[in-house]
């Protein structure tokens, strides 16, 4: 960890990333929405539903890095325009993934947070570009990456002059095949020891199983995560991407009714972690 000049924990205050009034790094920030922007109707309906359930931000992919080149690749620019409309209607800041360095400045015109996906964590050209974008970056952990490799990627963004990096643990590859990935919850306290950057958890991609998302959300909050990013679809059975792991708005509301009180309880009963 010697090369972490900007990301390391040394003599630094905790970073709080302000996104249109929402502070990541203080309290619990919940980001929710569909895997992909499929249509205006689906996106706007889901945006209203997650807002009603108490989400702080909206997620949705316009550019999708898919395992197969024949799978749905996202709506592109059209998707960005739909996300912008969802923000106009709900006021929720928008988190969306960028996969191509040529798209970074354009995505930054539409979105509030640029997401770097697990497959692109070590795409250094892309990291440099988002470092120059002037937008906060949500940096997902590479599915084969160590904490040190992950933090070095954060360092790439910080070193371009962008202080607003949010880390996101989304599960790593292990020999276990029942779950899609293995959620490494120990990353939360470990990251807090190693860096001043906020860390949130993605219980959707890490488990890939609907029944596990609720319990892992609760565990994440108990471990001290600064937030959650959860896939919610207004009609999961019709989703064009990752249909099996998207929560219905009702299921999401149920989880929200558990994690918010838990977070306040912990905040009031434990000395603030610094």
């Amino acid at each position: 960890m010697k090369n972490l000049k900007l990301a390391s924990r040394d003599q630094k205050k905790r970073t709080i990333v302000n996104v249109g009034g929402v502070e990541v790094g203080r309290g619990l920030v919940v980001i929710a929405g569909p895997c992909s922007v499929e249509s205006e109707k689906q996106t706007i309906e889901t945006a209203h539903a997650v807002k009603a359930a108490g989400a702080d931000m909206m997620r949705g992919g316009a550019f999708k890095p898919r395992t197969s080149p024949y799978a749905f690749q996202g709506l592109g620019l059209e998707g960005l325009k739909i996300l912008e409309k969802a923000r106009e209607e709900t006021g929720l800041p928008i988190v969306t993934e960028v996969i191509d360095p040529r798209d970074v400045s354009w995505v930054a015109e539409f979105a509030d947070i640029l997401q770097i996906g697990t497959r692109n964590m070590q795409n250094y050209a892309l990291l440099k570009e988002v470092g120059k974008s002037g937008r906060p970056v949500l940096l997902k952990r590479g599915m084969y990456s160590t904490l040190s490799e992950w933090l070095n990627c954060a360092e790439y963004i910080l070193s371009e002059g962008n202080p607003d990096v949010i880390l996101c643990e989304r599960g790593i590859r292990t020999f276990e095949s029942y779950t899609r990935n293995t959620l490494d919850l120990s990353a939360v306290p470990a990251i807090k020891e190693l860096t001043h950057l906020p860390i949130i958890i993605d219980p959707t991609h890490s488990t890939g199983r609907l029944s596990l998302i609720g319990p892992m959300s609760i565990a994440s909050v108990a471990a001290g995560a600064d937030g959650l990013i959860i896939e919610v679809h207004n009609k999961p059975e019709e989703a064009l991407c990752d249909a099996a792991q998207a929560l219905t708005p009702e299921m999401f509301t149920g989880i929200m009714s558990q994690v918010r009180p838990l977070q306040s309880f912990l905040e009031n009963s434990m000395p603030a972690m610094s």
Partner: protein, 357 residues
């Protein structure tokens, strides 16, 4: 040429045909003002015969006659609708047209090259109404228009405040990632400077915002986009890549509606222009009258006199009309205190941001 290329050319020609047709319809509507009726068999036969004398191998004479006849029929149909001809400066899609559409729904909107053409056309009666910008919230007064207002006999019968909502437009075939050049009026380019820099786009000055949009539609140059109104996108079938790309969102232009006659109803706002004698306190004593009468001023601007560069004419807008005793009393007193005094008109005040840009 490959099929794809041939089709691209055909599409381009179709767009050009329509843009030219739109221009022809506008001229046909204007010609109506000079004619007793819409039918003029001699002129029609003349036009058709002249077309037939063009011996184009691939366009049969009978076809060109039939085509032109159809166009003339449509012109006559439009002439008979007798929509008011509303003039604005710029090409179709200009912010002036956005204002005109808001102020006079259902009009026929006629583009003019210069502001002076708008004034002259309405003054002479070849156009019914005119829409001109007087000031912009970022750039200040539109001096040419204010200058023309000092000498015109036209009356102000309405106003509109149009939010300037610049859009980045490109043809459907253009991939946004390939855009390098952006054409627009220098003022619009300056207002979107931050956006252009962030996306590494090179500004290319053009004579008009809507003119740049029209050029894209007609010529479809490579790697090019335009900054213009949402209306331009609609008129020329361009894709809106991004709305609201101006650096400062509070950008509005105030337009006036001009007519040969006074506003027919009861307005709630009045515009005047006056010149005071060149002596101490003369402007103050006039403003004092308004203050004492409790009349709220909504605009005060000054402009050097053309004839006398050291002296100024003052533009004053205020709430109320001549029908209010307090206002007419102030105006009467002003007659004696000013060198010249010009009443532009009383009209309904624009309420907020009703007209969408």
């Amino acid at each position: 040429m490959k099929l794809k290329e041939i089709r691209k050319h055909i599409d381009k020609i179709d767009r050009e045909l329509l843009v030219l047709l739109q221009e022809r319809m506008g001229l046909a509507l204007r010609s109506r003002k000079f004619k007793e009726t819409t039918t003029d068999p001699d002129r029609e036969e003349d036009v058709l015969a002249r077309i037939e004398r063009m011996n184009l191998d691939l366009v049969e004479r009978s076809f060109s006659r039939q085509l032109l006849k159809t166009i003339i029929e449509e012109s006559k149909r439009q002439q008979e609708e007798e929509r008011p001809l509303v003039a604005f400066q710029g090409e179709h899609g200009a912010y002036g047209e956005v204002a005109a559409r808001g102020l006079v729904p259902g009009g026929a909107y006629i583009p003019c090259m210069e502001f002076a053409d708008v004034f002259r056309g309405v003054e002479e009666g070849s156009l019914d109404l005119g829409v001109v910008p007087v000031e912009n919230s970022l750039e200040g007064a539109v001096t040419q228009v204010n200058d023309l207002l000092t000498s015109t006999e036209l009356k102000v019968i309405g106003e509109a405040k149009v939010p300037v909502n610049h859009c980045l437009l490109a043809t459907e075939a253009t991939d946004y990632r390939e855009i390098r050049l952006v054409y627009s009026h220098p003022q619009a380019l300056a207002q979107c400077r931050g956006f252009l820099m962030r996306n590494h786009l090179e500004p290319r000055p053009y004579y008009d915002t809507a003119g740049a949009a029209k050029m894209l539609a007609r010529e479809n140059p490579n790697a090019a986009a335009a900054i213009a109104s949402e209306l331009s996108a609609e008129l020329y079938n361009l894709e809106i890549i991004k709305r609201g790309i101006e650096d400062s969102p509070a950008n509005r232009t105030r337009f006036l509606l001009l007519s040969r006659n006074d506003y027919e109803g009861v307005g709630d706002k009045t515009s005047i222009i006056f010149v005071t004698p060149h002596k101490a306190g003369s402007l103050f004593s006039i403003l004092h009258l308004f203050a004492e009468a409790g009349i709220n001023l909504t605009r005060i601007a000054s402009m050097p006199l053309r004839s006398e560069p050291d002296n100024y004419s003052f533009f004053l807008d205020f709430e109320g009309t001549e029908n209010d005793p307090s206002v007419s009393e102030v105006l009467n007193k002003m007659e004696e205190m000013t060198v010249t005094m010009k009443y532009l008109g009383s009209y309904p005040a624009a309420n907020g941001d009703k007209v969408e840009g």
